[in-house]
């Protein structure tokens, strides 16, 4: 598979009066064609800012200070505003968590879809036809009527679908989905997850899925990177992550979830609190909360090391973590509720 | 448990230059109003036929008016009256209006409806017109200026506080207070009031200026302070006829009004910052 996007050592900092918040502190990953790549982490982990950096959507006082974002060979970081606009919403699209605030309340849905056709030479008829097709594609019933409606006339799930339609209007090769299902009810979340999976296959698209929900990652992603305090601490394919994680944070996160799949050993919370990004701990940012921490962890930030083909971990204590068992119980297969 | 923000030594809002300037102006104004006798050497109401319409000099810093009175002394002595009008005409509406807004916003229902209709009707008329009407009915004089402003001035406070109450009424900590079995009085005074009063407090700064100007306007129109009591508006009124040849009679009271007004406005800005950051 070819590499669609290459992010190298991305650093996005927020420069405030008295402090510097290191939201993204040296992040590197590749996105291949036709894959779903997950970025998982809690609030403050840097996952959203990483996604926004890719499309140069970081708000002041945030700034991309370092790194390369190579899309089809060209570096997005170095592009001028015109060039970025040529990519944003056209070749790389993004959908957000809150469709109500992402959709324009005063424009009809069809006009918002039309915005994606700005640089094309489509006639009005063609644009309307394509818009109806898009709404059909995302599963909105009576699309002919609904393109004439406004955002507030749609329910939560429908709005999210409309936003997906707008994002896909220009047939992007990469879709970034920033917490697309977090604000939705469970049954609607299921529908949207299905929809995204189907669309990805139909349109041969790649997708970066950002979420804090490990279960969503498990259901949707091919590969995943776990972020903490602005850096990637573990990156591998999904099955490996959930069967044999190697970073103490990944493992601790799984152990702290009250999900039905964990054999009832009782919840094990992660002690302490997430770090202050303006005042990170020395060495490994996770060491104050880590059960395995040793002296070296307090002093030196570990490098991201490839322990196996495609499995990278950032930890000094890998010898201790080889016993971690993930959330998949062997034998693999029967889980949770019976069919 | 770790806590992130440390207590700062001098809050940022207090170090802003605009706030400091405002404080200085107000302090000066207050000092002048308390001790005019040490600053002005002439009797502000004593007529002196030998010194009519003198231009500013080292002897008469602001010149003299058509009665030979030292304008500087008159302006200095006015400060007390104008400041009094500004402050005392503001306080009563602030208290009354806030209480009304608090109660009607919290309880809603018929009282709220009636209140809103009253406010809508009264606010359809320009403030100054209402004041003039009331003074015409009650008669001239400083006392009636106060009463007129009190009758009309509580409206914006009620509106401001009520608006905030409607927002905070449904805040979870208010629900918590209800669930905790606190009396309505306690909830209103201890929990709602501190959180809804900010816009009203900020408005008092502008209101002081407004009241001062209203007092001055009424005096200017001859409806307020009666001669020979010195008051900025009154002095302005008297100086009108002499603008061409004795500009100092109108200029200096106007200048003092403007500076005092600016002082209160800057104070108000500082208050906004203070109230916004308290407890955060």
């Amino acid at each position: 598979m070819d590499k669609l996007l290459k992010v190298k050592n991305l650093k996005t900092y927020f420069i405030l009066k008295n402090e510097i918040v290191k939201a993204v502190d040296g992040v590197s990953f590749d996105i291949y064609e036709k894959e779903t790549f997950g970025l998982v982490g809690e609030s403050g982990s840097g996952k959203s800012q990483t996604a926004r950096s890719i499309l140069r959507l970081v708000k002041k006082p945030g700034k991309i200070l370092n790194g390369e974002i190579l899309y089809k060979g060209k570096d997005i970081v170095k592009m001028n505003k015109e060039q970025v606009r040529g990519i944003r919403g056209k070749e790389i699209s993004i959908i957000f968590q809150e469709p109500m605030t992402s959709l324009d309340p005063v424009l009809k849905i069809k006009n918002q879809i039309f915005e994606s056709f700005d640089r094309t030479s489509m006639s009005k008829q063609e644009k309307i036809h394509r818009s109806i097709e898009l709404l059909k594609l995302v599963g909105i019933p009576s699309p002919k009527d609904r393109i004439e409606e406004y955002a507030h006339q749609f329910s939560g799930g429908m709005r999210q679908r409309a936003m997906i339609a707008i994002a896909l209007a220009s047939s992007p090769s990469l879709l970034i989905a920033d917490e697309p299902t977090t604000a939705l009810d469970v049954t609607i979340q299921d529908q949207i997850m299905q929809l995204l999976n189907d669309l990805k296959k139909q349109l041969s698209m790649s997708m970066i899925l950002i979420t804090h929900d490990l279960a969503v990652i498990a259901q949707m992603c091919d590969r995943v990177a776990v972020m903490y305090a602005g850096i990637i601490v573990e990156m591998t394919d999904t099955v490996t992550l959930f069967s044999a994680p190697r970073h103490p944070y990944t493992y601790a996160l799984m152990k702290s979830l009250p999900n039905q799949n964990l054999k009832g050993e009782g919840l094990e919370p992660i002690p302490g609190v997430p770090p202050n990004l303006a005042n990170l701990p020395s060495g490994c940012p996770f060491h104050p909360r880590c059960k395995c921490a040793e002296e070296i962890c307090k002093a030196v930030r570990p490098e991201l090391v490839e322990i196996k083909q495609g499995h990278l971990v950032r930890c000094h204590c890998l010898d201790k973590t080889s016993e971690f068992k993930g959330t998949i119980n062997t034998p693999v297969g029967k889980r949770g509720i019976s069919e | 448990m770790t806590v992130y923000n440390k207590r700062k030594e001098i809050p940022i809002w207090a170090t802003r230059p605009s706030f400091i300037i405002g404080i200085i102006i107000i302090i000066l104004a207050v000092l002048i109003s308390f001790f005019p006798q040490y600053i002005a050497h002439y009797d502000p109401i004593k007529i002196n036929a030998h010194s009519l319409l003198l231009s500013p000099s080292s002897d008469h810093l602001f010149g003299t008016d058509n009665y030979g009175r030292d304008v500087f002394s008159r302006v200095i002595w006015s400060t007390r009256i104008d400041l009094q009008i500004g402050v005392f005409a503001t306080i009563v509406p602030f208290v009354i209006g806030s209480i009304i807004g608090l109660i009607t916003g919290y309880y809603g229902g018929i009282i709220d409806n009636i209140l809103m209709r009253i406010i809508d009707i009264l606010m359809a008329f320009p403030f100054t017109i209402l004041i003039i009407v009331i003074i015409t009915i009650l008669g001239k004089g400083i006392r009636n200026i106060y009463i007129a402003i009190w009758i009309v001035g509580w409206l914006p406070y009620a509106k401001l506080v009520r608006g905030e109450v409607l927002v905070f009424k449904n805040a979870e900590y208010i629900q918590a207070a209800t669930v905790a079995g606190f009396s309505n009085a306690r909830i209103l005074l201890r929990h709602m009031l501190p959180n809804v009063i900010s816009p009203a407090v900020v408005f008092t700064a502008s209101d002081v200026v407004l009241c001062m100007l209203t007092g001055a306007s009424m005096s200017f129109l001859g409806l307020g302070v009666q001669p020979p009591t010195p008051e900025w508006g009154a002095i302005l009124n008297e100086g009108r006829a002499y603008i061409m040849n004795a500009w100092w009679i109108t200029f200096f009271p106007g200048l003092f009004m403007a500076i005092t007004g600016i002082g209160f406005s800057l104070l108000g800005d500082g208050l906004t910052d203070f109230l916004r950051t308290k407890g955060k």
């Binding site: 979340q189 299921d190 992660i270 509720i337 | 606190f182 407890g279």
Partner: protein, 337 residues
């Protein structure tokens, strides 16, 4: 988990009893509507709910947005007055209680709220928040207040050092702990927790869940735990009630309800919740459609237009809430299994 057997159905064992409770919120009805003789419209948030909460149990209330779980909780705690039906607290009918009488019994039932950022008065220090609770209800001698505040804070995993700080200086998890300390100050018998961990990060959720579990055991509390997160409900509750559009569609022991659901909606919910196993991606059946509006509810069974087992009777007749086995209630014409 509590070992208390909730099947003891003697009334003496119920802390709270809700009987046929409905709560309807009227929509704006202006003069033009009166003239045009338009019928009054209501948001029917809660419809004919009957529920008993037994002493010492952790009862879960689960459902998606608009199901009425929060409204039901607020009716129980008398933040609202029910439109119809009864709320009975320890044998006393509190449905229409008002004023001083109501304030007197309020300490028995306290609440923990969802949003850690608006559940604490931003202008009161932690000490003031908790000491006020103690003072208003005379929980301890005046001289003992500081000690008791310290106790309550420590019970919630906080130290007295933070007592002079204001809520704005704390993280979400810490604020929830303060909220818990506040709720415990009045020594309630029952605590209603309205989505207490939904707004928190995953690593902090576990801390708070454990804290609540621990406190329940130590203090013998009864808890009504409201959440939309099935995983949390499954972990912490003994029994669970599933709500849809203002009614309870299923009630029973948590393990049973989730492993062998009787109501098609419960089944759909459990299927929809994503599993942590990436090798198990067989979706099976995904429920279609969206939740109808509580203003214009469907006829018959409210779930019928999304139910794969819908038959004719479901479209016209509302199913009764019946007991299908020991401690198991369902509202469905054709309960599963």
């Amino acid at each position: 988990m509590n070992n208390l057997n909730p099947s003891k159905s003697s009334n003496n064992n119920k802390v709270v009893e809700v009987k046929n409770l409905s709560k309807w919120f009227p929509l704006k009805y202006g003069i033009t509507d009166v003239i045009a003789r338009k019928p009054r419209k209501y948001v029917k948030a809660v419809n004919n709910v009957t529920l008993g909460i037994y002493k010492g149990e952790n009862l879960g209330l689960v459902g998606e947005s608009g199901c009425g779980k929060s409204t039901l909780a607020r009716n129980i705690v008398r933040l609202y007055e029910p439109t119809k039906g009864k709320v009975i607290l320890n044998g006393t009918d509190i449905t229409n209680m008002k004023g001083a009488k109501l304030r007197k019994i309020r300490p028995t039932m306290q609440m923990i709220f969802q949003d850690p950022y608006s559940s604490l008065n931003p202008r009161m220090s932690v000490y003031e928040v908790i000491s006020e609770m103690l003072a208003v209800h005379n929980m301890v001698e005046k001289s003992n207040v500081p000690n008791r505040v310290k106790e309550l804070l420590e019970m919630s995993g906080l130290s007295m050092e933070i007592a002079d700080r204001f809520p704005g200086e704390f993280s979400g998890g810490q604020r929830q702990r303060i909220g818990i300390a506040r709720a415990l100050a009045l020594e309630p018998e029952i605590i209603i927790a309205d989505e207490p961990v939904s707004a928190l990060d995953a690593s902090i959720q576990a801390q708070i869940i454990n804290l609540l579990d621990d406190l329940q055991k130590r203090l013998g509390l009864t808890i009504l735990f409201i959440s939309h997160d099935l995983g949390v409900i499954r972990y912490i509750t003994n029994r669970v009630a599933v709500m849809y559009l203002g009614s309870i569609v299923e009630l029973g022991k948590t393990k049973d309800v989730f492993e062998k659901p009787c109501h098609p909606y419960t089944l759909a919910l459990t299927k929809a919740a994503p599993s942590l196993d990436p090798t198990n991606r067989k979706r099976g059946y995904t429920i279609k459609g969206e939740i109808p509006s509580p203003i214009n509810m469907p006829n018959g069974c409210k779930f019928h237009n999304r139910c794969r087992y819908c038959k004719d009777i479901c479209k016209t007749e509302e199913p009764k809430y019946i007991q299908v086995s020991k401690n198991r209630y369902v509202s469905c014409h054709f309960p599963l299994k």
